[in-house]
């Protein structure tokens, strides 16, 4: 049965779009049929991060309002045929997202895909609430930084009250994805540790994505980091997170980028 997964955070710039693209591509790489939807109406970026920005024809608002059919708006990834993107509108207003319209689109997508990943905009307004509204699973993206943890706490509260599942008295499955983590600084006491964040937010951890040059490199070229460099530290961390999402028990490690002599000599100048 199809699962609707929202990638959310409250705070901007913590890695929702990067994570949506990376998780989507990793799931699709494992054979699942995946669509990633950009809910950031007016400020779309998922198309750019996934390298499809030149091919956008129709968008989510067109489909919600009935101006285009779903299959006209879906953009199939050029690298993975079972990965699709539904872009947000760049010119329309986010109020054009109606609850009924979004629900209809999601129900139609449920019949075609195994995973529907909703890339939420920052904030707690309409785009964000629409993205989480019909979710079965939530991935809360958090940086080990005070404002991000606070905003995540706020979002967890909304997930437990404003989603369809919560209103029906059911529990929405919530997972914490800790991104931009630097184990060396955390060890030095300069950054919140994994356990600090877990203790404060008290939702289960789905993965730790280490701070890495590979993330910027992947977005530069428009390729999810799990496709652009699956063997990189963030690539492996996202693949592990996906295995946990699918219910596997995977030992929790923080992958590191091991640099060869070449990398050590030139790595800092790359990217």
């Amino acid at each position: 049965m199809a699962k609707v997964l929202v990638v959310t955070s409250g705070k901007g710039g913590v890695g929702k779009t990067t994570s949506s693209a990376a998780l989507g591509a990793a799931l699709a790489h494992g054979g699942e049929k995946v669509v990633v939807i950009d809910f950031d109406v007016g400020l779309r970026n998922l198309d750019l991060v996934m390298g499809a920005e030149r091919r956008v024809v129709f968008d989510l608002i067109n489909v919600v309002q009935g101006d285009a059919k779903l299959n006209q708006a879906l953009i199939r990834d050029k690298r993975l045929e079972n990965l699709s993107l539904l872009p947000a509108s760049q010119t329309r207003d986010k109020d054009a997202l109606t609850e009924e319209g979004v629900e209809r689109v999601l129900n139609e997508l449920r019949e075609k895909f195994d995973w529907i990943i909703c890339d939420s905009p920052a904030g707690i307004e309409r785009g964000a609430t629409m993205a989480m509204r019909h979710a079965d699973v939530a991935v809360v993206v958090t940086n080990p930084e005070v404002s991000s943890v606070r905003d995540s706490d706020r979002i967890i509260g909304l997930l437990d009250s404003k989603t369809e599942k919560a209103e029906k008295g059911e529990r929405i499955e919530k997972h914490l994805l800790l991104t931009r983590y630097d184990p060396v600084r955390a060890e030095r006491g300069e950054m919140l540790k994994v356990d600090d964040v877990l203790e404060i937010l008290s939702i289960p951890l789905i993965g730790i994505i280490p701070e890495s040059e590979e993330v910027l490199r992947a977005s530069n070229v428009g390729s999810p980091v799990t496709l652009n460099n699956p063997a990189s530290a963030p690539g492996r961390a996202y693949f592990d997170a996906v295995r946990r999402l699918k219910g596997e028990t995977v030992e929790l490690t923080i992958p590191t980028d091991r640099k060869g002599l070449f990398g050590k000599l030139f790595g800092r100048r790359a990217a």
Binding site: L48, E53, R54, R55, V56, V57, F58, A68, K69, N71, Q72, Q90, T91, L216, R217, S219, N220, V221, G222, A231, G260, F262, G263, R269, A270, A271
Partner: protein
């Protein structure tokens, strides 16, 4: 990591720059003189076709590719045969 991917890695920032330049030129309307000319052409072409034949939305596939030198707009319309129309 092999040697080729090592050298490829170094080119990521110029790729980012070029992608942004192309995208923003289209969004700002520098290409074609108005914002998203290709999208406007798509709407007008479809409107003209609909004036002559009834076309189901399902039977229209549109592909666009916005590039720096040339953009392409590909519209595939399935027009029902006259027999099917009169039947």
């Amino acid at each position: 990591m092999n040697l080729l991917s090592f050298f490829n890695r170094r080119t990521s920032a110029p790729v980012a720059r070029e992608r942004l330049q192309i995208l923003l030129a289209h969004e700002r309307g520098i290409v074609g003189g108005k914002p998203d000319l290709v999208a406007q052409l798509r709407e007008e072409i479809l409107a003209v076709v609909r004036r002559h034949v009834m076309v189901e939305q399902d039977n229209v596939q549109v592909k666009m590719n916005r590039d720096s030198d040339i953009s392409t707009l590909e519209i595939e319309i399935e027009i029902p045969a006259p027999a099917a129309v009169s039947a």
